[in-house]
């Protein structure tokens, strides 16, 4: 039927990227532009005693130097407001986050002053001439240690550094289920801090128009309308309708570019103050200490199983590190996107989970690819592996025993969510087949008999993607609804412009959304242009995160297309002198004809033009051909995965060789297989990165020790084998495309699969658990300790 849906159309956006013509924010140059550099705290916690900017101001080429107090002193219409938190569950403490610190600094990298100069080099020079007098205070960095009595207080208004406590589930019933189990396995572990490292550092350019008192802000964001809303309502003191936010080409986000950042306030404030365009571009060193980071949990978990391998209950307590200030969606991640996912693909009768969200003297933590869901999957899969080991059962066999049967959808979990659709048995069959699971186990057996450390990891995971029904999201504490807008504008010549509130920063929407619209009308994909990332062109947008664009942004376009087809049918019926009910829209040909009279036909382009001349329309019909839909989904979508990893560990060096990896995912219907596979592959690399290499490490004084690409181990090309990817498709019944999220599944499953493989390899040595990343040094020490009679 359709000509483009389900096919690997090559990306229409690629030529500009391939030829160096992309429009990233850092590439923008405006006449008279000034350059901003930000002076940042070298200490994690300190009182600001004074800031002497006089030498910097005296430097030739410096236009101005501003402190946090200057930004607050502008008066009602010209002062910067604090950055708000957009997810506030009951009783949360939300300390103020000023764009530039005023009395105290609370993490290394906290902004203390702003230099504006004629060139970026001069601005950097001036930073060295600012004298900031800091009185050091003791720091706290640990997610759980932050709650200890006597721990340094990050904000006076948050006793014990506790921002929120979020429980979900029936604790009493869960405790009873654990008491009734034949075995209870308990584990305390760390899900380490990660740093997103989108390849494009954040940047912002702003231009103030004095005549119209309006501001244009170009910024590296995944959701320009949300940034405009926050600038207008909270941080900039300029009415929302006077602000235009443009997110042009954005070089990757992975969550880190969702949030409203201080520099998005500072840059337009400066542009207005000096009445010249202003530009700020992060150095990578700044990215490490200012981009919101990910994960960082301390967790205590208990799982109960019967002798025959049935899971009876799961009890989870997590301390989640939120860093020094609550980033835009920080409290959402370790709560509603984490505890609710603890059932995974399994029938677990009783689950209780709770999170203590703490504040520390570290960079703020918020969503990073997967955002809560990889933490849940890693927890659950680790516990299931331990249960299998306890029962001396194959981990896949134990998993299969507990899978939600395919005839039990929609499935209500004990932790709030209702899964839409799935066939986990088929997923397992395909994964065992693709990976050659049985052969891998045989290979492992012979390797073990030779004393080699070979491990096989299996991870089966769920994701709640496509957030969310707005009523549910707002009910949980979200400050905005999570629908999406999609406008289709048909031009007189039958060419089409699509305005979407989703934002593409690598996902390929300019191709996939064009595939959707071309098929809806039966027109050529070359006739469809996708516009995104500009608040002046697109009616409204919620943005791209949580693997939501196809399911919600794409569905909004389907609905708009349906409205347009209905209008076209009416005008065709009028001109062909037939009944609207007899009109047939042929989506292969892009024509409307009278049923049974194929010679009575109008083309899409003819009808589009007819609505422009408007001289022969049905009575009462408005001319013009443009429709907008605000699509609010009925539920999340629930993609699922089964991934298999094989590793071999060098017992002498502790080095992990990832030898094979097979991934089978169910992301529902697929619009473009090439792009979906690309998303899965990229996600896997980030998941492997967490399992083996990546770690945002703070010392006890709050210094980030892995604060550059020299010391933070970003996955490289030589770290991977060739990865096998396949899929099954169980369509989601909750959206007209039948799609589920594809952007995060790889990351969610890969961390668990690879960690599982490494621990499986080390099992013969009696090692039961190691915290990630599973680096050679750590493994080598664990092997040495095991040789001396004990695991880690």
């Amino acid at each position: 039927m359709s000509r483009y849906m389900g096919t690997s159309v090559k990306r229409v956006e690629d030529p500009r990227f391939l030829q160096g013509r992309a429009k990233y924010v850092a590439n923008l140059s405006l006449p008279g532009m000034a350059y901003i550099a930000v002076k940042r705290s070298p200490l994690a916690h300190a009182t600001i005693r004074g800031i002497d900017t006089s030498q910097a101001e005296a430097l030739d080429g410096v236009i101005g130097v501003f402190t946090g107090q200057n930004l607050l002193d502008g008066g009602a219409s010209f002062a910067c407001g604090a950055l708000p938190c957009g997810f506030t569950p009951p009783d949360i403490v939300t300390p103020a986050h000023n764009p530039v610190a005023v009395d105290k600094v609370r993490h290394v990298g906290d902004a203390v002053a702003v230099v504006v100069a004629e060139s970026p080099y001069i601005a950097e020079d001036a930073l060295d001439l600012i004298d900031v007098d800091l009185d050091p205070l003791p720091a706290v960095v640990d997610a759980r240690g932050a709650m200890d009595d006597g721990a340094p207080l990050v904000h006076d208004e948050a006793p014990n550094n506790l921002s929120y406590h979020w429980p979900l589930g029936d604790e009493e019933a869960t405790n009873q289920a654990l008491a009734d189990a034949d075995h209870v396995i308990e584990l305390e572990f760390i899900n380490q801090r990660l740093i997103a490292n989108a390849m494009e550092p954040r940047a912002c350019v702003a231009e103030w128009d004095e005549a119209t008192e309006s501001m244009t802000v170009w910024t590296t964001t995944q959701n320009p309308h949300t940034i405009r809303l926050l600038l207008g309502a909270f941080t900039l003191g300029i009415p929302e309708q006077k602000i235009r936010v443009i997110a042009p080409d954005v070089g990757g986000g992975f969550g880190s570019k969702i949030f409203h950042y201080p520099e998005e306030v500072i840059t337009p404030w400066v542009a207005r103050a000096i009445k010249r365009p202003a530009k700020w571009v992060a150095t990578r060193s700044e990215s490490y200490v200012t981009d919101a980071q990910g994960r960082d949990h301390v967790t205590r978990a208990k799982i109960g199983v019967t002798n025959d391998g049935m899971i009876t209950g799961l009890h989870v307590t997590t301390w989640a590190n939120n860093g020094a200030y609550l980033s835009t969606f920080a409290p959402l991640i370790p709560t509603a996107l984490y505890i609710t996912l603890l059932s995974g693909v399994y029938k677990i009768p009783h689950i209780f989970g709770q999170t203590y969200g703490t504040l520390t003297n570290t960079v703020p933590v918020d969503a990073y690819r997967g955002a809560g869901r990889p933490e849940a999957s890693y927890l659950l899969e680790t516990m299931v592996d331990l249960a299998a080991r306890k029962l001396d059962m194959d981990p896949v066999e134990l998993r299969r025993k507990n899978l939600i049967p395919s005839d039990e959808f929609p499935y209500q979990t004990p932790v709030a969510l209702v899964y839409d659709s799935g066939n986990y048995q088929a997923l397992f069959d395909r994964a065992e087949d693709l990976s050659g699971y049985e052969a891998l186990r045989n290979e492992q057996e012979s390797a073990r008999s030779e004393g080699r450390l070979v491990g096989i990891g299996f991870a089966s995971c769920i994701e709640a993607s496509g957030p969310a029904p707005s009523a549910v999201a707002v009910g949980l504490g979200a400050a905005i609804g999570l629908f999406e807008s999609g406008t289709i504008r048909v031009h007189p010549t039958g060419k089409v412009t699509v305005l979407t509130g989703s934002h593409s920063h690598g996902q390929g929407h300019e191709t996939t959304f064009a595939q959707i619209v071309a098929d809806e009308f039966g027109i050529d994909i070359e006739d469809v242009d996708i516009v995104h990332g500009d608040t002046d062109r697109i009616p409204y947008g919620v943005g791209t995160y949580g693997s939501r664009s196809a399911a919600i942004g794409g569905s909004a376009l389907v609905k708009s297309a349906e409205k347009i087809r209905e209008k076209l049918k009416k005008i065709a019926a009028h001109q062909l002198e037939a009944s609207v009910d007899d009109m047939v829209y042929d989506q292969d040909e892009g024509t409307i004809s009278v049923a049974g009279s194929p010679e009575a036909v109008k083309t899409f382009a003819e009808l589009a033009f007819a609505l422009t001349t408007a001289d022969n329309l049905p009575e009462g019909m408005e001319p013009g051909l443009e429709e907008t839909t605000f699509y609010d989904p009925a539920n999340f979508t629930f993609p699922a995965s089964a991934h298999v990893a094989k590793v071999e560990i060098d017992a002498k060096t502790g080095e992990v060789d990832l030898q094979s990896y097979a991934a089978v995912d169910d992301v529902g219907n697929v619009i473009n297989p090439m792009i979906v596979e690309g998303q899965i592959l990229g996600g896997i690399a980030q998941g492997v990165g967490q399992a083996l290499w990546e770690h945002g490490i703070y010392d006890e004084d709050g210094q980030l020790l892995s604060g550059s690409m020299l010391s933070y181990a970003i996955p490289r090309a030589d770290g991977f084998p060739s990865i096998a990817v396949d899929r099954i498709e169980t369509p989601s019944p909750h959206n007209p495309l039948g799609v589920k999220g594809a952007g995060e599944m790889g990351t969610i499953a890969a961390t668990a699969a690879v960690s599982s493989a490494v621990l499986d390899a080390l099992a013969p040595l009696g090692i039961t658990h190691m915290n990630m990343p599973l680096t050679p040094e750590k493994i080598q020490r664990a092997i040495a300790a095991a040789g001396n009679g004990g695991g880690e």
Partner: protein, 156 residues
């Protein structure tokens, strides 16, 4: 200081501060913003250009060091409106997502593939150790470089 060089076949000269990086020179002085800056420690390779036939990270070269040299940036790779075979291969194999690492990745790949039409997976993975991509997981980049190398047939 005065510097002169050939960039994408065109003679250019300018008076620059001695500390000006080659990457800033091509981006700011020449307006060739296809060369991206992804880090400040010479790890990521986003800024890779060709200098006298070698792939170099232009953030580690001063503009004055490039005085008299022959520079090619991503903007100079296609010729007569035709994509270079390596650009075409990245497109065909879906070797890019956000596109930010892509110019540097392609410039490095052209040199890896030069004289090596049958390049192996291992050679590509080793050869691209100094170019980071956070989107693709490298799988399709490896495919692209092998396809591009074959299409180049040993010629750059």
């Amino acid at each position: 200081m005065d510097v002169s060089m050939t960039v994408n076949g065109k003679e250019v000269s300018a008076d620059v501060e001695p500390r000006t990086l080659l990457t800033d020179f091509v981006r700011n002085n020449l307006g060739l913003t296809g060369t991206n800056i992804g880090c400040d420690t010479s790890q990521c390779g986003s800024c890779t250009v060709h200098m006298d036939g070698m792939a170099v990270k232009s953030c580690t070269v001063l503009a004055v060091q490039a005085d008299g040299s022959d520079i090619t940036t991503i903007e100079g790779l296609a010729s007569n409106g035709q994509l270079h075979p390596m650009q075409q291969a990245f497109w065909d194999a879906h070797g890019l997502q956000c596109g930010f690492c892509t110019p540097g990745m392609i410039m490095a790949s052209v040199k890896i593939a030069d004289g090596n039409p049958g390049i192996t997976d291992e050679d590509v993975r080793h050869g691209l150790e100094g170019n980071f991509c956070r989107c693709t997981g490298y799988e399709n980049i490896i495919k692209a470089v092998k396809m591009g190398a074959a299409a180049m047939g040993g010629q750059s």
